[in-house]
């Protein structure tokens, strides 16, 4: 008898916790999103009126920031993939007995606080940093061009900050490839590029899917990079939600925006996983 009950007993405390502090808040968020201000009430007082128009208002008002979030996150994800793939490949196949050492090196920078690293980028790319004067003296950028407070800085910051989320899953799946499959491909007269396209890449797809998701999801909801490295012109949806909550105390709009963001990401993720054909992510 006990045997049937064991898994449920093991699950109970953890899932109970997740139910109260993850599921309930999401449901509550859905409820908040259709509220309207109490007539004549204080700021921050809302009543339930099931006003679904909130969603449309919130979206129309902030469609620019929505678009920006997804475009920035997409570019950052693609850049991270382009940087990480050769790196993960090199660590898996070309580093011999130093494999673990290089893996530690990939993760090590992320032991310094995320915020400190972002602030460091701001100062490195800023007017007092060494990058801007160097680029100016070489003539790559003009005297009036700055690097901070630009979309470039925000996307670069996101690419940097989420890089290990891309590199580690990529490494895990590339490392699992049997090098003999690559040799076999070469024996069958495939050149390097064909081997990569027909053997390495398909076998590493689970890593590509996991890595792109783990990078895209936090990047789309991020507001720290945009707040530190960007300007009012690079505001993302995260910045809007944050200011709706704390500065304007407009909970319904913040909730509607959060819910739209979550729904959009979940739909994208589902479609993407279906297309990529890897169901086993967890």
């Amino acid at each position: 008898m006990g045997k049937i009950r064991t898994p449920y007993l093991l699950l109970l405390p953890g899932f109970g916790f997740l139910f109260v502090f993850f599921i309930l808040p999401i449901l509550n968020l859905a409820q908040t999103s259709t509220q309207t201000p109490v007539g004549g009430g204080d700021t921050g007082q809302y009543e339930q009126t099931f006003r679904f128009q909130n969603y449309i208002d919130a979206f129309v008002e902030n469609k620019e920031q929505f678009g920006r979030s997804f475009v920035y996150a997409l570019i950052a994800t693609l850049l991270a993939l382009a940087i990480s793939y050769p790196l993960a490949y090199a660590i898996a196949f070309k580093s011999g007995k130093y494999k673990n050492f290089f893996l530690v090196l990939v993760v090590a920078p992320f032991f310094t606080s995320f915020l400190l690293r972002t602030v460091a980028w701001k100062q490195i790319l800023g007017e007092e940093g060494f990058v801007v004067p160097t680029l100016r003296s070489v003539g790559i950028i003009s005297e009036s061009t700055t690097l901070t407070s630009t979309a470039f800085a925000v996307v670069m910051g996101m690419t940097y900050n989420f890089l290990p989320f891309m590199t580690l899953p990529l490494f895990a799946s590339i490392d699992r490839i049997d090098p003999r499959t690559l040799e076999a491909s070469g024996d069958l007269y495939a050149n390097g590029f064909t081997t990569f396209r027909k053997v390495t890449l398909p076998l590493s797809m689970p890593g590509v899917v996991a890595g792109t998701l783990l990078t895209f999801i936090p990047a789309a909801g991020d507001y720290v990079n945009a707040a530190i490295l960007g300007s009012p012109n690079t505001k993302m949806i995260g910045n809007v939600i944050e200011s709706r909550y704390f500065k304007i105390v407009d909970y319904p709009t913040a909730a509607a925006l959060s819910f739209t963001l979550m729904a959009a990401i979940l739909i994208l993720v589902t479609v993407y996983i279906r297309k990529a054909g890897t169901e086993e992510l967890v």
Binding site: L11, L18, N28, L105, V106, L116, Q123, I217
Partner: protein, 278 residues
């Protein structure tokens, strides 16, 4: 093209072609050097500026000093924030590791109705952007008239760490050789003895890894913390609010210190693993 000319005209290989050949052979090494340089630039910057004799605003290099390292609490706000982050991190690690490990054993070791739903429930918090997790939890606390602060932050951290613990421990459980447990049973160990003497020691490195991951996720979290911590200042929150006017160099000391400490833990862990493997 250039190679053809080189072969035809001069018997010795010209410098450019030599370089090209070297570059071709070492392309991957060159790439790795570049990639790791990119990864380490902000770390090196943070470390270098921890020695800056800068006073309050650590923006411009003003001269070398060891004072910041000798007295990391010279800026008291930094140390308060650090203490809060460590307290929250430890509590979140303990609770999320216990809850997550139990779930991992249930999913990894048992077949039961609702297993795929359980997997989904673990996946969902990881697929939800942090800002949504933070904002939704705050609205729940507001409904129940709970003020954001220390414990709400701990709860929030436990919530988002559980999934990562489950995934890490489950991976370790999945990699176990089931024959080891069968062997224990064959030697008349009962279920509890098998679990305590065979399964648990084998899964322990996974649990330790999960705990380290949970701590670093909690310690480094800003977005969810910012929503639920109220007036409690954690280390990332301190850096964020101080960023506009320049952070004190002591924050760089703590950031660099964390870097070396974590590096030491990882290297020690690898060393222990290697000795065990022998």
């Amino acid at each position: 093209m250039s190679k053809k000319i080189a072969d035809a005209t001069i018997p010795t290989i010209p410098l450019a072609a030599q370089f090209q050949r070297w570059f071709g052979r070492n392309l991957i090494r060159v790439y790795m050097v570049l990639a790791f340089t990119y990864l380490f630039i902000p770390v090196a910057y943070t470390f270098a500026f921890s020695f800056n004799d800068s006073g309050k605003s650590n923006l411009i290099w003003k001269g070398f000093t060891l004072d910041n390292w000798k007295n990391p609490c010279g800026a008291p706000e930094v140390c308060n924030a650090l203490a809060n982050s460590i307290k929250i991190g430890l509590l979140a690690t303990i609770f999320s590791t216990i809850l997550g490990t139990m779930i991992a054993f249930a999913i990894g070791r048992h077949k039961f109705k609702g297993r795929s739903t359980s997997n989904l429930l673990i996946f969902l918090p990881m697929a939800t952007p942090e800002i949504v997790l933070g904002a939704s939890l705050l609205s729940l606390f507001l409904v129940f008239k709970i003020n954001p602060g220390f414990w709400p932050t701990v709860i929030a951290h436990v919530m988002f760490c559980i999934s990562f613990v489950v995934v890490t421990v489950k991976a370790r459980i999945a990699s176990l050789d089931p024959r080891l447990e069968q062997a224990a049973m064959d030697l008349y160990a009962n279920e509890f003895q098998t679990f305590r003497r065979v399964t648990l020691p084998l899964v322990a490195p996974g649990i330790a890894g999960a705990a380290l991951l949970a701590f670093s996720l909690s310690f480094d979290d800003f977005i969810i913390t910012n929503f639920n911590s109220g007036t409690v200042i954690t280390f990332p929150k301190f850096v964020y609010t101080a960023a506009a006017r320049g952070i004190p160099a002591q924050a760089n000391v703590i950031g660099s210190g964390m870097f070396f400490l974590a590096l030491a833990i990882v290297i020690a862990g690898q060393f222990i693993n290697r000795r065990k493997a022998r």
